[in-house]
Symmetry: C2
Subunit: 760 residues, 2 copies
């Protein structure tokens, strides 16, 4: 279908406001009488609070409220507002008489200034009764390990292990000509969004609560706030306009939001709680550190015969998204490279460490890092081109996806082939490599697939309301969030395209739960796919009403009409009426209000990518530089090329960070945070970034997405990691099976390589 708005990089609706600083974020909300809330955090990793005395803090002038576990409701909450029964743990009190990690909230203060609140924190006396702590999953799983929670299936397991069996893996291994086996490990990157977590709570005298919060999931926040505070849903209003990123972690509710609401109720004034940068680490969410033991069998020709894996995710002190991440990350190993015989076990374990949560790539980054590196290892062992080995085994049309529905198209193979062409992979494979230079270059590639709305066990849902103004311009009401991705520009394009009006004639209303229809939230790569389709359906309903009306005015059947550029024409004639002329509400034969609403429960959809990467390893410093990246993505119809490319470039940058630099570290002896700041926690800056030559394919449009579009949000962070690790192997012959790969490790490995004389 030819489109005029969809597929073009229109100017983003939020562009000017963002670049000029006009855009209002939650921290910009000024309210009369606003108080500032601050959190006292635990100085031990595991302890009972023997005594806590807030009297000196309360006596400080300017202090309006102090809360501890003694005076907050003892309500277990999930720590996250996503659908709990499936993927989340209900294991966290608002404040507890026990702390389970260094930095956990112990008390909060609301005061007339941030300084006074900080001073008051120092006046709270806490006496801890220390408990033995465990920081690694190995220690946590030892018999007799200290129990962090008195819930769960036993020991420190967050949940019963996930076991997935398909076919007969033992038979598969028996039939294999080659078996490759290894242990892979992922570190603890954090989302490090620009905008620290912030919320402001205000009660009205009728018991209604307004929450301004930087969240990806406004309706989930509404739901869990209402549940925890005992309010009906229409008494909680959640507001969020612009956001400075989220990357999945802003799906979670931390303890702060409940405490903010409770402080505001106690003080009878609005309260703002804004995380410092340090708190975004300490009190925020990281990716789950994980260990993946993976074993695969191959025929000589590269055909996969069996796959077995045991995955252990470190959830930290609370469960949060642990179950969901474990399910999604484990199930991902059923696919990408097709294999009939699969045996997978996924575990999620409590430790006295910072809480891991949802983060772009949701469990899959860890398992596909293992899988794609091991495919590279197998290719070496088989003497095959790794790209060809992956192509041979790439999932195909009709294969069953991790979310149990048949895949559409050959998107993965398309990506691999196109990437091979783009970089002239065959020639690269043949080139001479120097094993002696100081700076050695290598190429690698990695693959991924990621679902839109493919959260297993949850039926997702997009909703939209479209109303047409009396001049033919329209307003879209959507519950999707403005994370910063340009998603609302994309939704407006879809509505404009469907109605045959200009992009500029579509306004988007969002970020107010009182007003917009319910939305599950901006995660799982589904805003364009699901929210966009709902918007398209609602626009279609308005178009139906409009054409029915225009048909009456033009004495034609609505089926014979077409809308384009604001004019409604009887097809094949010059009889026409302007959209505006058809919409007049008061004059002549007045038009009714044209309103369409739609509720869309999608099937699940997968996007694909293959990333081709060149790296340069400095053998003197151990530093790995990414020289160039060619990410090839198949995402169905592209709605806004620049926004889609922006998602990909951002994901590549973040993936480079995770693979080479980023690791939020805690002291293995006491759980104390070691690098909770942007000096010690190193992220790639713009000057660290290589050229990225993005290629977007539209070869497998999904009939469930608007104009065939699929998601792209999470995909680009997944494949870049193993592509880099594989390129490093290509460059220096050292196989790294963990991230981040640090210079000192490179140097150590090169030294060991020289000692053993086994350079590739």
């Amino acid at each position: 279908m030819a489109t005029t708005v969809v597929g073009t990089s229109v100017r983003r609706g939020d562009l000017r406001a963002k670049v000029t600083g006009d855009a209002k974020y939650v921290a910009d909300i000024a309210l009369p009488g606003l108080l500032h809330g601050k959190t006292l955090r635990s100085t031990v990793a595991h302890a009972r609070i023997a005594r806590i005395d807030t009297r000196r803090a309360l006596a400080l002038p300017g202090v309006k409220a102090v809360l501890t576990h003694h005076n907050v409701p003892r309500v277990l909450h999930a720590g996250s507002p996503a659908p709990r029964s499936v993927s989340l743990t209900r294991d966290q009190y608002i404040l507890d008489d026990k702390v389970r990690y260094w930095g956990e909230s112990v008390a909060v203060v609301a005061a007339t200034s941030e300084q006074i609140a900080e001073e008051a924190l120092a006046l709270i006396d806490v006496e801890y009764e220390a408990l033995p702590a465990v920081f690694s999953v190995e220690d946590a799983l030892l018999p007799g390990a200290p129990l962090i929670h008195d819930r769960g299936p036993g020991g420190n397991l967050v949940m019963a292990p996930i076991v997935c069996v398909r076919g007969d893996f033992e038979k598969g291994f028996a039939e294999a000509d080659l078996i490759v086996e290894g242990e892979y490990e992922g570190g603890r990157p954090t989302p490090a969004y620009m905008e620290p977590n912030v919320c402001t709570c205000q009660w009205d005298g009728d018991g209604g609560l307004t929450v301004w919060i930087s969240t990806q999931t406004a309706f989930m926040v509404r739901g869990i706030m209402a549940e925890v505070l005992g309010l009906p849903l229409h008494k909680v209003r959640v507001l969020v306009d612009h956001m400075g990123g989220g990357f999945g972690a802003k799906q979670d509710l931390f303890q702060t939001e409940f405490l903010c609401a409770l402080l505001a109720r106690e003080a009878q004034r609005p309260v703002r709680m804004e995380f410092s940068r340090e708190e975004t680490f300490v009190g925020g969410r990281s990716r789950h550190p994980a260990k993946v033991w993976l074993k695969q069998g191959f025929k000589k020709d590269g055909t996969l015969t069996a796959r077995q894996a045991r995955i252990v995710y470190n959830s930290g002190a609370y469960g949060s998204h642990g179950p969901g991440v474990t399910i999604v990350g484990t199930m991902a190993l059923t696919s990408l490279y097709r294999c009939e015989n699969v045996h997978l076990e996924g575990r999620c374990v409590y430790t006295n460490s910072p809480i891991a949560g949802a983060f772009r790539g949701y469990g899959v980054v860890q398992t596909y890092y293992a899988l794609d590196i091991q495919m590279d290892e197998a290719a070496v062992a088989l003497g095959m081109d790794p790209a060809e080995l992956k192509l041979k085994n790439a999932v195909r049309e009709g294969d069953i996806a991790p979310s149990n529905h048949p895949l559409i198209g050959h998107g993965l193979a398309d990506c691999i082939r196109r990437g091979q062409q783009e970089v002239d992979w065959a020639a690269l494979r043949q080139r001479e490599r120097s094993a002696s230079g100081v700076r050695r270059r290598g190429w690698g590639m990695g693959c991924e697939m990621h679902g839109s709305s493919a959260y297993p066990g949850i039926k997702e849902q997009g909703n939209a309301i479209v109303k047409m103004n009396e001049d033919g311009s329209v307003t879209l009401l959507t519950g999707t969030a403005a994370l910063g991705t340009g998603a609302h520009t994309v939704l407006a394009q879809i509505v404009a395209e469907d109605l045959g009006i200009a992009f500029e004639s579509v306004a988007v209303v969002h970020g107010d739960t009182d007003v917009v229809p319910w939305d599950i939230g901006a995660f799982a790569s589904h805003t364009t796919y699901m929210g966009g389709r709902a918007a398209q359906m609602a626009a279609g309903e308005v178009k139906r009403q409009l054409l029915e009306r225009a048909g009456g005015l033009l004495e034609a059947s609505a089926a014979d009409l077409e809308v384009h550029a604001g004019m409604i024409t009887v097809r094949g004639t010059d009889r026409c009426i302007s959209v505006q002329g058809a919409v007049r509400p008061t004059q002549g034969t007045p038009a009714p209000q044209f309103v369409g609403s739609a509720s869309y429960q999608p099937t699940k959809s997968y996007s694909f990518a293959a990333h081709f990467v060149e790296v340069e390893v400095d053998t003197e410093t151990g530093r790995i530089a990414v020289v160039q990246v060619v990410p090839v993505h198949e995402i169905g119809k592209v709605i806004h090329p620049i926004a889609a490319a922006g998602q990909i470039e951002g994901g590549v940058q973040q993936g480079i960070g995770h693979t080479l630099y980023e690791d939020y570290q805690i002291d293995p002896h006491n759980g104390r945070s070691l690098n909770a700041n942007f000096v010690d926690y190193k992220m790639p800056l713009s000057m660290d970034m290589p050229p990225i030559r993005t290629v977007i394919l539209e070869t497998a449009p999904d009939p469930g997405g608007p104009f065939g579009a699929k998601g792209v949000g999470e995909d680009p962070i997944v494949a870049i990691g193993p592509a880099i690790a594989n390129a490093v192997f290509d460059a220096i012959g050292v196989r790294f099976r963990h991230y981040p790969i640090k210079p000192e490790q490179v140097l150590a490995a090169l030294a060991a390589q020289q000692t053993s004389g086994s350079a590739a």
Copy 2:
């Protein structure tokens, strides 16, 4: 139909906020960098502006913008945002090089404080070139009178006269046994709302305008602002939450709002313009002063044979609602008391006086004052009980209403009969009256009928969106305004009743044109009737979706289900599911978002009233005191008895004010305002109010209204006036044919009566 929420006086949703002062009005909106706008007003009634020099004002520190006719767009606007082609005049520039009444805007200033803005006004030099002025309609209609506008059908007519002919009035008069003829006159009361007009305008950098404004017609404001400023509709956002009254006059846009927007654009900062109390008189809108010449013929038995009238409305310097008021007020004389032979002429005339506009009772107060007093005069002449004369001629089921549709029920007769019973009218008629006491009491009665959505020539329209939250609570999105009448409580009751949920489970979102569906505005007594019906229809659509869903879950036909108190039950069984259980969006078989929208174009509906009044005339002071009022109203189904009674009591109070006290006066020599303040412009205070024993009948429900409800907003101000005048005649035998009836006029009339010796 038995109802559980509808028909009960639930606690108003806005109650607490209003009584505690928490409710936010437009003047409470605080914006960073807010400037204050002030208006320089003309000191002459009719002049050309020969020269205007703003240089000294602009040089004053703190002054950010000054606008005169030299630097505002020269756009003719209607002065009002209601549908223009039918009822409104497009005769007003934002600022003109001519002034047409004393107090007209000449220049505006925006400055950092109100004081600086006021100081700056004094620094603007204006040189007027005076023109001859006319203040009375008689003078304005004289041949050779100075022309106030160079538009219109000729002379100072705002519009071509309205002529309505039914039957043969000359034949009717020829057949009459009695002809009564008289001239009646109405003064210039003003709405005198608690909250002065106020608006705040702010531009965003993308050319979008946000307007906070105390208005009854947010969408009309959006439309005319967009038109005048050359913006598409979705670039204008109009916001209004609470309002302190409007009474019709806040349908109008004055010049202020455009100037506020232009000042904000010029200064690149938000600007607030708030009327002083004086400006609500000078720059606001009053009721149209009117003269009604009325002649009627009667048979001896009281049967009306003919009615002829000539009505002249004084529009002041601009047309505003003049045409609409003239049409509605003139056409009203086709009805109330049935008459086959009617000849009516309505005129609307420019004068150099303050602008008249829309005001509760919209043209009908003036004509029914004449009609109902003349009926009383006829009864005296015929020797009949005036109530019986009116009852005999009262409009009946099937009679054609002024808006040309057949009336439903015998509401007027019902009101008259019930009022007779309530006050024991027959006995009152028989009682002894003293013609000698200092304080003499008398009884009178008056009648009225008033349309809901009965604006002739305009197809009105109500719209609503209802969405259900996942706990079964719902949100109504409505474009209707919160004038202060409790209308949104009424709409929430209707939605709750229809969905079988508690009133407290319904939230109402209103007052944001970006968000809610289009609405024509809160006027013409149609919020409950039309907006309420639209809300009911939208709720019905949600209920249909809900029951369809519940039917699937309960394995029953949706037709067999009933909803009550939050439970959905299969009729006649104990199989049930909670509303909440049926609405879950993510778990089990998830529910879609339940959203209903409705667009309702009503037929027109009429409510009726008869007011019975006792007055006491102090013959020494001339003061008329209202001793008691028994207003009997027939309004179809009563949704909220206390709110309906509140409308009636408020209307009675306002009507007493207009009949006895309120008259905004201008100097007949120069047009200067004489009493633009609450000391000199006297309104009845609570201690001036008599007991009011309101009776509400539900004898003629309208099938077009929600649960049969009709309007009640305008009705109560109409009948009280002639009832008082008739009671004064009953008390002292003096016939007053104008309002307000002032003590000095009473004394003069009593003196004349004594002189002529003709006491009744």
